[in-house]
Symmetry: D2
């Protein structure tokens, strides 16, 4: 931590700040400059709450060097992690994992049809929403437990592990029973109690980046899960909210190589929610693989025009099959680049 | 709903869209234009999911006229609502409500000291966080139930109703027992299950705007609570996330007169979280009253420099007492403007 | 400047960075910490370009303490400045200046009618756009020189100084001839050549904040003008671009007290462009005065519904007259608060 | 254009709006709905200024269907354009163009060294800044005319066409003399007078997207150039400003396929300014090619650690040579996908 004093700060003020730092059990190193004095703070084992310092007279700015996360960081875990879920591996050196399926489970038939498309195209995991977060209460909220069962059945029928979103703690036990991977949606990225409970299950977790979460907040959210003893976390970039509304969100692809530097956790990309437009899904999915994503998650529906949710961003069977084939060819080609 | 066709859309495509609209039980009115055709959709009672339409061939854009909320809207409830909580009234024609207290309950003594400051200054409600949402798991997470009890005791000691944040559904019963008003924090604005459960309690709710929530999403979140039969919702603007990081968030004050037009619910402002800087709290609090806020919520700590959380944005007793006096004078003056 | 090394940085890397700092003629002070080493850089007279440092092996982050501006800062000019333009004074201790007039000069009659409204209501300066920046080339681009003359005539007719926007350097001499204050629009805030030339004129300048300009960039833009020897700069907050599109922009009112702390230059607020909605102009104008703005700039049109530009955010004569009266009463009341 | 009336709008208000539309020479088609009336506006040849309508009593919203641009649109020019500049072709069916060189021309030697790297690596065009837009006036502002000459000499020495930024109209003639392509920087994207003058030259133009420009504004800026009779415009995505500051900007790659749908103009990507971090340049450059960019522009410096500007995002010769080789291999592979 570095404390920057105002140009006009008095020696007494510098002394008072130094004393306050010492009172916290830390070491203070004044660094006099030509324009102003700064005070380096040493000895902290991690992130320090700066409230007691920031408002002392003469303090202009407090700059943090330590981060609010640790377990997810490369600093403390230099080797990349491989997260395995029901036999599917996410991480360096693994083939990028393709997760696909409908936004929401709508019926036994629809889910099975989707599963067959997903399997035949060559994807490794099946998604389907049973409990749906919707902006307003008057939209379709998902089939709930019934939908969860259809998802499991469909996964079993085509021999694919399944992933579904968990929205409340009471659902956790049931969802852990039916699903192989728990998804935390963007709106719940900072639902810290849910993160803690998910951390206690030991179940693999796909954590989506919040709509306006910084990378630091994203990694800190993952830290909540790891801090409870669950290291099986897969990060997922799904677009951030910006001023641009021509796309549903703005896909921040540069986060992929950046997070690969900062964290050992695998990271995948969801181009469907990021763009909200069917014809942008394929190009952005390929781009995700090229920048080093460990997988992608795509919305697929047997009949997108009749989808109860997110039809506009869902691929149909033919488009998805074509995309998977292209991604696999791209993957092979990249190995030779 | 208005469906805008591509300039090159064929008559057959226009017809197919018209048929799809009719299949939804709605009426389609083609509006031929010089450059392109648009199709007006009539007959819907509320917001229509556009997935089945948006991706039909020849469709360029689908424009919604209806909103995903209804109960919170002035359209359906033209008269402004007064929300009453433990004798304190929020709404038009009422004196702006001042809610104050520490970010987090730290001890019995701290809470009582804060309560006395808040009461003596002339505020009407006491706040204090027992369960704290923190970016990282290694920061102070609040005293929990113990903190809740200290808050209640302090409120009783100075005869002020109390408000505190609820973060998980299992806490609801306990928090309803101890607190007069439930607060839903910005990070949980789209924790829809929590909103539903809070809606079932019938307890007054303060709903904070999410960090990157549009007005439409904010009102839709409130709609979740009202849709469960609980009309006692107070909205709270607390700053939005923008590119500007010189302040913690960007206080969007224009939302106050705008929401007063769109919704009948009362709306207050939290200048402490919005700015994150102590010396901006007073000016922004006054501005909030001037633009028509039904109250403000301010962080006050007996000794901000020793606060375990958000000390930098907390007022001490003297500053807060001065602020309340100024707000009351301003309130009286505004009546004469 | 503070250089933060990676946790894994070697002593040799720390030494290399230290050497590089010295090669720049500066002093390096290593600050060893428990987790990593940081290096304080001393001796610089201002902002240092960090390119030569940032990419050395082992460097994690470079943190700047000095700012890219100096002349506009309170650090170097502690006393607030009063900027005087044609007898009108902007700054501390002065009555807030009300500038008003149409978005664009449309005709001699319209401009004169607007001027009479503005004068009678009690404003101190007349605005009117002769050269208009429009998103697309097919929109009305302003009357140009003719409009400039109408503006001057109208100002003379009602004895008010006038302000108008300058968009290109070649217009400067002419505009300086006709107008008392030069306006730099938001889109040109970082048109650095225009800033330099405006700086050379010595004419008073109203500098609008760019749509996505940070406070640091805003003050740095003003620094360009002062660096050319022209200290007569008035800053103007006019809303920033955010994800929220219910208003044209998001008015960032907290910038007013914040800039008053950081800079000695006067700052005013334009609630018309900030909100884009006529009925939000009055509340936000009042709020601007309450937070300490040294003036406001408002769009007024004799017949807003027939305006060629920005009619939706323009006040008519009655609304503006009412607003000025309220602002003046508010101003007097605030003195007694 | 669609005008949506308030639910409570009276028949007389609907009539008044209808009359106002007719007074504009357009046709109004009321579309009565169950909740409210909407009025379709027909007959306009392009974008209509809605000021005269938006504020009429009873109007809730005005929705535009037409866009503020036309010449740049696929609607009016369905075939993709090939823009040729000094023998280099940008557009569909052409090999992606690689433009590279230093942020700023620093000396004759540096520029020549950079040119040799760029040429040998296999790029097709040389960049170099002679006139530099810098946030603050105290940073290096470029060598000006001298730099321009060095750039031309270096280009000639290695037989590459050159591109450089133009910041003010008076420079245009000189820059057109020395450079093959004119660059309009992000800060000048809405410097409309500069756009117009650049449009009059007929010289090829690379137009960078503004930091907070929507796609609509970006295309409208290009429209200014085309409207002056110059169709030789190449668009350039270079990252947008968002809340995320871990990267310099957020590269919005989805804009590439989207603009390819909306406009016939070629579009390239600048991963250097978009990310601001050297090690993100290569992955994002490859991703740009994969999503369909017609080229990339990359900062290359013979000795990035000594660069006077943007060293942190500049590649050195080895990295750039490796990148070009990878891009060419990727390009060939993509043809076979």
């Amino acid at each position: 931590m570095l404390i920057v004093m105002h140009q006009s700060a008095t020696n007494a003020q510098v002394q008072a700040v130094t004393d306050a730092v010492k009172a916290m059990g830390l070491t203070a190193e004044p660094i006099p400059g030509s324009e102003r004095t700064a005070i380096g703070v040493l000895g902290n084992q991690g992130y320090v709450d700066d409230a007691t310092i920031r408002e002392l007279p003469g303090v202009r700015e407090v700059i943090h060097v330590s981060k609010p996360y640790k377990l997810v960081s490369r600093d403390f875990h230099p080797e990349p992690s491989i997260v395995e879920a029901a036999g599917v591996k996410f991480g360096d050196g693994q083939s990028p994992v393709i997760i696909a399926g409908p936004c929401s489970v709508e019926s036994e038939e629809q889910m099975l049809a989707a599963a067959q498309i997903v399997k035949q195209a060559g994807a490794q995991m099946l998604r389907g929403g049973a409990f749906k977060p919707r902006t307003g209460p008057h939209s379709f909220q998902g089939l709930g437990l019934e939908g969860l069962k259809y998802l499991r059945q469909a996964g079993d029928a085509v021999a694919l592990p399944v992933i579904t979103e968990v929205m409340r703690i009471e659902q956790l036990e049931t969802i852990c029973h039916y699903a192989d991977v728990l998804q935390i949606g963007a709106r719940n990225m900072q639902n810290f109690d849910l993160l803690k409970e998910v951390g206690k299950t030991g179940h693999p977790v796909l954590l989506k980046r919040g709509m306006s979460a910084t990378i630091e907040e994203f990694l800190s959210a993952a830290e909540y899960i790891l801090a409870e003893g669950n290291p099986r976390v897969i990060l997922c970039e799904r677009g951030i909210r910006t001023f641009e509304r021509a796309t549903r969100n703005t896909l921040d692809l540069s986060v992929v190589p950046l997070i690969r530097e900062m964290s050992h956790l695998p990271i995948i990309v969801d181009p469907s929610h990021a763009t909200g437009r069917r014809n942008l899904v394929s190009p952005m999915a390929k781009a995700a693989i090229v920048v080093g994503a460990h997988g992608i998650m795509v919305e697929v529906h047997p009949d997108p025009d009749k989808a109860l949710c997110d039809g506009a961003q869902s691929l149909d069977g033919d488009s998805f099959t074509k995309l998977v084939a292209e991604l696999r060819r791209l993957e092979n080609l990249l190995e030779s680049v």
